[in-house]
Structure formats: C-alpha cells, structure tokens
Amino acid sequence: MKGTRVQQTNLVVALDVRSELARNNILAVLGSCAVTLRVIGADSSWEDVSSLASLRNHHAVYFTDVIDKAFLDSLASVGFRKLDKVLLVREDTKDAVQDNPLLVEFNHVLSSTPECISHQLILSTIHKIREKDYFGVDKCLAFGAHVHAFTLSNSEERKWFREKLFAFVSSLEAIIERPTDTFAQFALEVQDELLMNAIWDANPARRDFDRGGPVVLAPHEHVRVEWSFDGTLLAIGVRDPFGSFETAVVLKYLKYLFSKDRKARIQMQQDGPGAGLGLYMVLERLSSLIITVEPGQCTEVIATLNLGQNPRMMAKMQRSFQYFSV
C-alpha cells in the first residue's frame, strides 16, 4: 500500500535555555524530533543560528526561559520565513515575566518547573509546526486518547452539551480517583463560554445580536466541539468557521494571564470589550489555552484542564498559553 507523503516543514530549533536542567530536559525531548537543533551558547553561536535563516523555506522555533530584549531584536532582524517564539516560565522566573511588556513578543508561553517541562506541549508544538497539522484536541493529548466529536447547529443545543459533558467528566472519577465536582463545573463553564464565543462573538453577522433567544445556525456557521481525556489532561475544543480571532485580543489575554496584580486583572475584565468577560472567565478555569487561527477560515480554541492536579494546585499554577496563526 502506498503511504501518503506529508510535506513537512524544514524546522530549525534554537534553544536558548539558561537553566541546565530545563535545557537537558528539552534536549532529551527534541532528540526524538526531526529538526535541525542548535543550542545557543553550547554548540552554536547566535551567528550560526542566524545563518540558517538564509536556507530557503526554513521555519524557526526559538525556545528560551529568559526575556532578553537584545536577543529578541536580533531574532527579528534575521528574517526567518516564519518564526515561533516559545517562552518557558517556571515558578522562579515567573516574577520576571509577569507584567513584562516584551511578553507579547511570544506566541507560546509554557508553564513549567525545572524538573518537569511539559513534554506534551513541546512535542505537540513541534509536531503541529513541522507537519502543518494544527487543528484538533488529539494534538494536545497523549497518543490514542479517544476524541468525542460533535456538531452544534442551534444555540439551544448548549443545554445538551452541558449535560453530556457533565456526565463525561463525572465518569472520570474512577480514573482520577477523586471527586470531579469542581472539574465538572470548570469544564461546563469553559465549554459554555467557548460555545457562546463561537456562536455569537466570532460570527460578524451575529456579534451584536441579543443572546436571549434561540439561534439556528446555517450550515456554514456550524460549530465543531471536541472533548478528550488521556488519563491526565481533559481537552475541550471548539472550532468556528470564521477565523476572526484578533491578535489584539490574544495579547490582552497574555497580559491578563501574566499580570501580578489581581486588582489590575479584575480591572482588565471590566474594560474588556465584547467577549471579554467570558473568555477571561475561561482563563481562570483551565491549565492551558491554545488558540489556532486560520484567518477568515477557522478559529479553534482548546482549553485543557489538568485533572492530575487537585483544583487548588490548578488554581495556583501559572497557565500556559499558545497562539498559532496558520
């Protein structure tokens, strides 16, 4: 049988991670990936990395655990065909990141500890970029997790989605060996906000409509919903056919997630236009948020909840945030 040839992206990974433990950890993970790897400061200089930009069709991914303005400026001047910047945030580096205006330079901010880098997030990031295969909750979870997929064609169906997801999360109690009440509440509220966003806010024709009455969606407005659980992470994905998620909104959420001052965060919610409050609510109830936008075509928002942590830890942990524009 003839296999399908997938056209992969030539990927350069520049690793500029100062924590030795974290660097070795990532090296071990990337060792299994087909990428051109350069470790800045160890086997490569910055010039060596930048020279790779002259190769045609190279997409670069820059991993770092520090925000270095000079370095970011250098990166911008190199001119890779496409560049994704990944910032790793640990408890001990969180303070330097919070409220840092340069945070918005990064489209991936991954929360980690020196001992535990999220291998799943790193691998899925590399996989998505290299394979040009971005959509679907399966990319965010361990291989083989069953994906429950549905289509929403009427705003009233949200009630059915609530009950169905509640039953699904409740059924996970036997697996995670603890009560699921709080996780079910979080999951339902997250799903509902993402659905409202997809039905009304993302749709230019419905954005300003009253939400009190039911809405029947035309086939070209249908919303795809996916859930999956891999034993640790619960992923909820909602995909709309509009691709209207604006970069400015993404930057607002990044600032919110990495703001130190809780009062300032609440103020941001009050000032948030349109879907502001709903999506801010989502950010309080998840472990990571992954937004993928194909402008004018499709937006997928995936929320993952780490059910391996207790809700108290989940609330305390810095969230991860990813934004792919494809």
Partner: protein, 154 residues
C-alpha cells in the same frame, strides 16, 4: 440543568445553571432585603452573571446571599457588580477533600463569625476528622478564593 427559584420559609432557593436564558423577570420578589440560598447553583456563565446583576439592579432590592457555592464565589471574585446594590454575603462554602480517606466536605463560612465583611481573610483552618492521618484540605486557592470578602460592605 435549567435554573429554578423556589420560595421556602422566606428564602429563595436558586438551583441549576444560571445562563442568559434564565427567566428571572417572571420571579416575583418582595422589596427590601431578599434572601437567596445559592447552594444549588451548579454553574454560571458570563451572560448569566450579567442577567442576574441586571435583574437585581432593576428590582432595586438588597440581595442577601446564603450558602454560596464555588461557582458563585468565583464570580464574586471576577465580577465586582455581582456584589453591588449593598449585597450581603451571609455565608459561603469552602470545598475540602481528604486524599487519605476520600472524604469530601463543604465548610460553611459565616459572616461575623468566620469572616468580617470588608476585612481581608487570608486563611481558614480546616478541621481534620477523627480518622488517623486525615489530610482534609481546602480544594481552593485561598489567595484568589477569599479575595471578594474585602469588597463586601460592612
């Protein structure tokens, strides 16, 4: 689970999911201070919060909230207007869980006893049970969960 409001012994018991489709306007309420027991609320979405705030504002009543569960407390912390109209929180829940024996419990914190409105409460001691090695602990992060108490009117 559609939202329901039932009156029992002078208290309005609210249960289910509070969303933008809740028909709040049909519920007839008296004037002045009105007690709501929110222990049965399962979820509230952002439009549901707006509906609720608008409804309370239109009626001009002073809401008194009892037994507020986690979804409600999270909204208190996110949406300041939820506690407008001189709203009072008489009591709220702190969910707790013991990893050793699997016990799940909701502690009720009462105004004037366990917390003082307008004054920060940074911690709350969870009473352990009689089981040996009991690890009963709050299932919420106090830093973010108890924040709204500072905004309450005394």
């Amino acid at each position: 689970m559609d939202m329901e409001i039932n009156l029992r012994e002078g208290v309005y018991f609210v249960s289910g999911d509070i969303t933008e489709t809740c028909e709040l306007a049909t519920a007839k309420l008296p004037q002045g201070a009105v007690k709501f027991d929110l222990s049965g609320v399962r979820t509230i979405n952002s439009c549901g919060v707006r509906e609720w705030i608008g409804w309370i504002g239109k009626l001009g009543i002073q809401p008194v909230y009892l037994n507020c569960p986690q979804p409600v407390v999270m909204q208190f912390n996110m949406v300041r207007e939820f506690l407008s109209n001189n709203a009072k929180v008489e009591s709220f829940m702190v969910p707790a869980y013991c990893q050793t024996c699997g016990q799940q419990k909701n502690f009720i914190l009462k105004s004037g006893v366990d917390f003082q409105p307008g004054e920060p409460l940074e911690d709350f001691a969870i009473d352990k049970c009689a089981n040996q090695g009991c690890a009963l602990d709050a299932d919420v992060d106090f830093d973010s969960y108890l924040y709204f108490i500072e905004d309450l009117v005394q």
